[in-house]
């Protein structure tokens, strides 16, 4: 029976070309929509307030995202700026007295070729799996020390897929950078913490953590003295509230290419985008179901009519109603499978082209397959009911 199902399905595939293409198109549309929503959703999980403390000013250029190995990355060519100049501006704009306990969260600057990506990260995973990153944490008061601590590292990976910080198990000496009087960012004399590298994670995951000396990172990335993201945090948000705009204006004036966005603004932007996309994406799945259903229904109706004689013959040869029904369902499953696979393949390609991201959600594929299955089941009943064996087999 399996062989028969396979051969009949294969031989009738040409007849199902249109529903397969329609199904693939539906899967493409919904995959792109759902993937986009998923992308933003994941990004929204990134604890932006936690990471930036909610009281940071972020300087950044736009960051298109792409997915890779389960995380979201960016490999945009970033504009980089001389860190000393930026630091100096920060120091001048935010007087030391006001920012005594402010920590400079210099981004990591991963680089391969001349690509530079900077992440305003920092934080670490505590023993309970809780993401710790708050200005007070960065002061060192809550940071666990010792061999037992583990670090998940936001690992700007190299082309060979390895983390720049080494393989899991590597001991990392991680140190908080301290902003000091005299326009100095001290990344050498702060307290060191020894971590065991547990793994490398993508950006949106809350349990990535790294605190590394700026020069190490810059040197590693071949971008000494350069940063493109800078966050400025303060133990007490109220301390910078009044000066935040001032700092933004100052930095924008001095570095016109720099875009100054506050953490709140960034978060609002993300949430707004996400809401829009999620709203839109809501319609994709029902649309997929509808389009798929209509396509398969129309085709199976047409085909079941044109194949009445074939179905009758199979009945005569000795297939029971249920077995003929199974053949029909198998064919519809094949349509679903082919349409789904084709759709997912196209969606992946388009997604990479459009979004520089390829997050495949399983829903469109699952729904298309399910729709094919159900449609096959329903229409096989109709097809069988309409087949009058003796009428179909009568001599003309």
């Amino acid at each position: 029976m399996f062989r028969l199902a396979l051969v009949t399905a294969r031989r009738n595939l040409g007849k199902y070309l249109i529903p397969i293409l329609v199904l693939a198109a539906a899967v493409v549309i919904s995959s792109l929509g759902l993937s986009g929503a998923a992308l933003l959703w994941r990004y929204s999980q990134y604890p932006i307030y936690q990471v930036f403390g909610g009281e940071l000013i972020i300087l950044h250029s736009s960051t298109p995202l792409r997915s890779q190995r389960g995380g979201i990355f960016t490999d945009q060519f970033f504009t980089v700026f001389p860190s000393e100049e930026v630091i100096k501006t920060v120091a001048e704009t935010l007087p030391a007295a006001q920012a005594t306990k402010t920590l400079f969260t210099a981004g990591i600057v991963p680089s391969w070729g001349n690509r530079v990506t900077v992440w305003p990260l920092m934080g670490r995973l505590d023993t309970t799996g809780r993401w710790l990153y708050k200005p007070r944490v960065l002061q060192g008061s809550n940071i666990l020390t010792g061999e037992s601590a583990e670090a998940w590292v936001w690992g700007p990976s190299t082309d060979d897929g390895k983390s720049m910080f080494g393989d899991p198990g590597t001991k990392l000496e991680l140190r908080a950078a301290q902003f000091k009087q005299g326009n100095q960012w001290d990344v050498t004399s702060g307290q060191e913490y020894l971590y065991t590298l547990k793994g490398t994670y993508g950006m949106p995951y809350a349990n990535l953590a790294l605190w590394a000396p700026l020069e190490t990172v810059q040197a590693h990335c071949g971008a000494p003295g350069l940063v493109s993201w800078i966050g400025v945090a303060c133990a007490n948000p109220l301390q910078v509230d009044g000066d935040r705009d001032k700092l933004g204006v100052e930095l924008s004036a001095r570095f016109p290419e720099l875009k100054v966005v506050t953490a709140e603004e960034l978060a609002e932007m993300l949430v707004a985008d996400l809401s829009k996309l999620r709203e839109t994406a809501r319609y994709y799945l029902p649309l997929l179901v509808l389009v798929s259903c209509l396509s398969i229904v129309a085709t199976t109706m047409a085909i079941s009519r044109s194949r009445r004689r074939e179905l009758a013959l199979l009945r005569v040869i000795g297939l029971s109603n249920n077995e003929v029904r199974l053949l029909f369902i198998a064919e519809c499953c094949l349509i679903g499978l082919l349409g789904g696979v084709l759709g997912v393949a196209i969606a992946s390609g388009v997604s990479l082209l459009l979004f520089k991201a390829c997050i495949l959600t399983h829903e469109p594929f699952a729904v298309s397959f399910l729709v094919s299955l159900v449609t096959g089941a329903v229409f096989s009943c109709t097809a069988i009911r309409d087949v009058t064996v003796t009428e179909s087999m009568r001599n003309p």
């Binding site: 062989r3 005569v316 040869i317």
Partner: protein, 227 residues
């Protein structure tokens, strides 16, 4: 003569509605066919030959009467069991060949073997096609074969499972006389070789001489002599 299978139809009545009228096509038809026996059933067009064949083959339930295979009432079986019986014990040949156009001759012959889950279906089908003289045409599709060749493929398909009973409904009706003779010779020798019973329904009198027994369907009844 092998008496391994006896197909028996008793007092079969079958009517059709045509508008307001009811036409009684079979009116107490009784027939018995044994394994290895070739029975030719004559009758004019519209006399109910095909209907009787369908009823005997378990394809169309009679209004009354019974059909039994070795004493088992065919219509008391479930659809699945009746289908299985057809699959395992019956073979069918039709006037219009009824080959699946999307499949090659070889695949068409393999269909019954696939339904039975037989191993080496391809090899068996190729052997039977060779036996009916189509070894060189087995990879052709029906549209690429002549009428006679298509009917020989149908014969191969009917016989590939070594059925106990073959139902042939006007197998030469669509063929010219030379092809018809060739196909009939092929059918008869194949049926004889496999020792299957055969009910050949036709209105072509010349095939009577090939039969062990000739019957006539007249006024819905099976008669041994023409009126």
């Amino acid at each position: 003569m092998d008496t391994g299978l006896i197909l028996s139809g008793e007092k079969i009545v079958k009517s059709y509605r045509s508008g307001d009228a009811t036409i009684r096509v079979l009116d107490g038809a009784t027939i018995t066919i044994s394994a290895g026996e070739m029975v030719v059933l004559f009758g004019p067009s519209g006399s109910g030959k095909t209907t009787l064949l369908h009823v005997l083959a378990g394809l169309e339930q009679p209004d009354s009467g019974s059909v039994s295979v070795n004493g088992t009432d065919v219509y008391s079986l479930s659809d699945a069991r009746r289908s299985r019986m057809r699959r395992e014990q019956f073979g069918f040949i039709f006037q219009s060949f009824n080959l699946l156009s999307s499949m090659s001759a070889l695949e068409n012959v393999q269909i019954p073997l696939w339904t039975l889950g037989r191993k080496n279906a391809r090899g068996l089908a190729a052997q039977v096609l060779e036996r009916v003289g189509l070894a060189h045409r087995m990879h052709h599709r029906p549209a690429e074969l002549s009428g006679g060749e298509q009917q020989r493929v149908a014969i191969a398909r009917a016989l590939v499972t070594q059925p106990k009973m073959v139902f042939a409904d006007e197998p030469t009706g669509n063929l010219d006389s030379s092809s018809a003779s060739s196909v009939m010779n092929c059918l008869v020798s194949a049926v004889r070789d496999s020792n299957a019973g055969c009910l050949l329904v036709t209105h072509n009198a010349q095939w009577g001489e090939l039969a062990d027994r000739v019957l006539y369907l007249i006024d819905g009844r099976v008669e041994v002599e023409p009126k």
